[in-house]
Symmetry: D2
Subunit: 346 residues, 4 copies
Amino acid sequence: MTHSLDFRSDNTSGAAPEVMAALAAANHGTAAAYGEDDWTIELDAAFSMLFDADCRVFPVATGTAANSLALSCLTPGFGAVYCHVESHIMVDECNAPEFFTGGAKLVGLQGVDGKVTPKALEQALSLGWRGVQHHPQPAALSITQATESGTVYAPDEIADLAGICRANGLRLHMDGARFANAVAGLNCSPADLTWRAGVEALSFGATKNGAMAAEAVVFFKPELAESFLYRRKRAGHLFSKARFLSVQLLAMLQDGLWLRLARQANDCARQLAEGLRHLPGVSLPWPVQANEVFAAIPQPMAEAMQRRGAQFHCWDPARSLYRFVCAFDKTADDVAALLKLAKEAR
Amino acid sequence: MTHSLDFRSDNTSGAAPEVMAALAAANHGTAAAYGEDDWTIELDAAFSMLFDADCRVFPVATGTAANSLALSCLTPGFGAVYCHVESHIMVDECNAPEFFTGGAKLVGLQGVDGKVTPKALEQALSLGWRGVQHHPQPAALSITQATESGTVYAPDEIADLAGICRANGLRLHMDGARFANAVAGLNCSPADLTWRAGVEALSFGATKNGAMAAEAVVFFKPELAESFLYRRKRAGHLFSKARFLSVQLLAMLQDGLWLRLARQANDCARQLAEGLRHLPGVSLPWPVQANEVFAAIPQPMAEAMQRRGAQFHCWDPARSLYRFVCAFDKTADDVAALLKLAKEAR
Amino acid sequence: MTHSLDFRSDNTSGAAPEVMAALAAANHGTAAAYGEDDWTIELDAAFSMLFDADCRVFPVATGTAANSLALSCLTPGFGAVYCHVESHIMVDECNAPEFFTGGAKLVGLQGVDGKVTPKALEQALSLGWRGVQHHPQPAALSITQATESGTVYAPDEIADLAGICRANGLRLHMDGARFANAVAGLNCSPADLTWRAGVEALSFGATKNGAMAAEAVVFFKPELAESFLYRRKRAGHLFSKARFLSVQLLAMLQDGLWLRLARQANDCARQLAEGLRHLPGVSLPWPVQANEVFAAIPQPMAEAMQRRGAQFHCWDPARSLYRFVCAFDKTADDVAALLKLAKEAR
Amino acid sequence: MTHSLDFRSDNTSGAAPEVMAALAAANHGTAAAYGEDDWTIELDAAFSMLFDADCRVFPVATGTAANSLALSCLTPGFGAVYCHVESHIMVDECNAPEFFTGGAKLVGLQGVDGKVTPKALEQALSLGWRGVQHHPQPAALSITQATESGTVYAPDEIADLAGICRANGLRLHMDGARFANAVAGLNCSPADLTWRAGVEALSFGATKNGAMAAEAVVFFKPELAESFLYRRKRAGHLFSKARFLSVQLLAMLQDGLWLRLARQANDCARQLAEGLRHLPGVSLPWPVQANEVFAAIPQPMAEAMQRRGAQFHCWDPARSLYRFVCAFDKTADDVAALLKLAKEAR
């Protein structure tokens, strides 16, 4: 088998063998449709165990659906949702949050290392919109874990933001498209990184981490989920053969597969970062804390790598910044092959 | 192996072995994400061949998404979409069409045998709404093929409705959640049943017919599809690992699998209808033209069947009307087993 | 002064002199903008006195805004709003209710004399949508008082419907575009016709009854109004110089002007009905209980009247049904002139 | 008569006598409802004359309605509307643009003196969103004339922005809530400031400038207005007695009243700026080019002024920045009285 030099995205990989096996295993006999099957019903208990707390859990197929449906439970159409100015919900979901929430405004906050800072949030809240009919009503903060810059929020960083949210009547949502990588990177418990720190709704990503197409919307406060069933159906995100979503999630939780895969991806990223960091002319703007490596690379070198088969995206041409994503199935050998190529490309 | 007595729905069955095999086969190596993979790109050509016409084709995972996204390309928010008063988009999608279209009004039309009649459509259009600012603007007709009553529109019935649509500036959409069953039932070509008869956009269902979760939105007029990409993403229906949607559809088209499965389901329904029809006290309100059988059955008899393991839904308690759906994987033996039980239940 | 033969609509008349005087009187000095002026603040108390109950009152400029904003407080986007199949919100507001509610479905109910019947409502509710994720969730009933057929609901008729609403978790909204005519016609108290009978939100119309452009959205349960301020602003219905809306409403309430005008209009309608009823070939399909008269008139006779200067709309060509509206400023002489013309036109 | 020391807003003033007279004059006889009266029909011609170009003109009652309805004709729900980060549509309309457009994203641009700069617009457009399904699709630029900082765009500044718009497929909208003040301040023609410079749709404000409640949405490209009638009705902004909106606008255009009032307001603002500028400790951050004066004033001095009866808003406590608005009916004497008070307050 040859090495894969495809570092474009988590999404260019397929599904983990365990996930495929679970899909095949579930394909026997008939089962109640629309989420009334045994697998789907098991989700609440499985995630409640994982998070050491009572959860309400809903499977959907895409991260955009997970984020937008979650947010639609947290804000009215006249609300404001605060988020990082470059977050996925802000720039990469084609106005899905606005669509699902009935027109809520996403307010972009500046950050450090891809993370919303308490100061930026407080400044935005200091405008005095609450209760004034002319202004969008502050409704929620959404943070991304791991961030779009490959960094992670530590539990106390989340708790700081959550404190501001509580003091200002904001709900706290976490876009966890790479939640597994964050947990693996921080080596802390899922609970510590979510509800114990103040997170109220989580988009628990599995697709990037080895599922075929499955995400879980997890509510740590059941009352926030009251309208979810109707919102999901209304958005066309209720699967008739829902078992095929649910078993993907169960397979990920089984024997800690989700963390094992995330750790492997993170290890690859760390190995890649170390290798790149020491190449002349290369620098890394942000700490590598999950499965993504952002590196400023001389353009000729990057293009030489690409000519020789490496695949990765240019993130910011102005800074000659490139992104390398280590998917769940990347191996140390893949990374070594890429680094070899990088060294030769200088 | 025992017989399956589960006639609740097409959706209680799993996926056809060919679909599972295609999913497994596609799970090798990396592929461009978000629909830029080779399988997804192949869809336009594959469906254009099937329909003998240039098509623009978009895979999504649910029928509600297919219908609502298609309709959102056919009507503005101030538009009116005509449909059968008991159609799926009217009563079974939790206002998804209204959501995706930004508030268009679904106008329910009475029908015969579950089919919209030209007369009902013309009466609705005779109200003179077009061009009058107070009224919803007539925008589209959506018909279901096969219908919610298990009947089918013949090509000339569609052409009649299409003629009214053309004369009144209405687009014509077909909800083909059971399109395969209709084609199989009528034994005509997909083209004859769609664009040649005047259909402009089709929700081509595969899930009920043996896919895991896959539907194709097919536009016979490319200009109607211009905004589709953005609408799909905005609704969270763009899959990152899109290949896993597309290969399901390709597998269904491969060697006519879609028709083979539909024919088997229809055969079972016909067999079941013949068997039920001759039982004392049982009557069938509508012709059985696809894979669904509706039968008025004395309630004690129906309940006796259910007690002995048969699974099927009560459709209308007032008329003691029950629905039996023959999924793609039902067999003649399954039907025989059900009929045996029915005879004993009298 | 010549007689007015314009019976097209309540809206073809201008504003009552008292309203114009109030506008002029309010045009002195500066006042806080956006509804923080003294006149607007007075509205809650003025209407609370009128209705003998604590009310939250919001002025807007159009009936469509009043209805749609009120309904948007009563239903989520995945809700169902029941109403008469020919009601204004159903067919004459270009999908405004759908727009404001984020896509709720209006379910049209058949009626008698333009009034929703308890039986029709109960049948619709018997479909079992509540709590089932596939279906729109029953949220509200909206009735029109006086109806689009010129009839009125008696207090006990409203109470009957309200009882069904309560038993089924529906909110009860009244579109009172012609509320004044209903109160005048029934000669009962505003309270008896609203909250005492179970109405929770009322669109209190003033424009048709002599205002320039002013309607009051009245909530009898303050908790239903919590989001109103934001919804109104978001819809562009908050007036900067709000005093000019509010003084119209105050002028209408002053010394019972609203009832005086409505009584005059109703008297004219009754006089007109009596006159028409006895003409050969003329029949009235519905009782005349407010300020509108619907009459089946031989088409040649109607056209002869129109040729000679009478203005009124054809309501239903198929039945040769015509509508005559007596605006707030119609007089007995106007009606007499019209009747004279009708007699000559036979 | 005493002097008015109320400089809070243009909206705290009432209506100009000429407007009140026009309303009274229009209140005779019946007129076709819903905009089919002669006054409303005259609007197209009157504005076409004013702008020296064929216009399609629609009266509405509020600026938020004008802006949001105009924008809804210029962008789909998956679009991006660029605007100044502190513009009225961005922060002062409670998500109305998002609501009316079905969820378009407003992208805030930094500016100089309250004006969007070509550089900021080009940077935003350089992100490469066009044609990429993940991103909001660039649809329109909206600029405010005069700006929220009391400055104006010169015709060539607009033309520069319009050139970028054309090159990037953006529509150009102007929020002219204070358009009259801008025309008066620049002493140029309405045409030069709009369509000749590239503006395609204008919210022509009259309310702040002396109307009771009237704004005109002016389209310089008729094809952009095709859906306006339905969008207006659907939003509850079609007045039944529309004459009362239209005559306000006609009165403003009559004999140049709109410019006369705006010039007076601007003169007052200039006088006030000159007076304040020379007071110790006072500075003006932006040029005064319309009817608003922003001044950094020592807080004790500002509060002393307010204690003695002056009314004006604090704009930014952090900078001790205050706003003084000269409404259409402010006089030189009013300003002199305020300045006297300011001098004494030091």
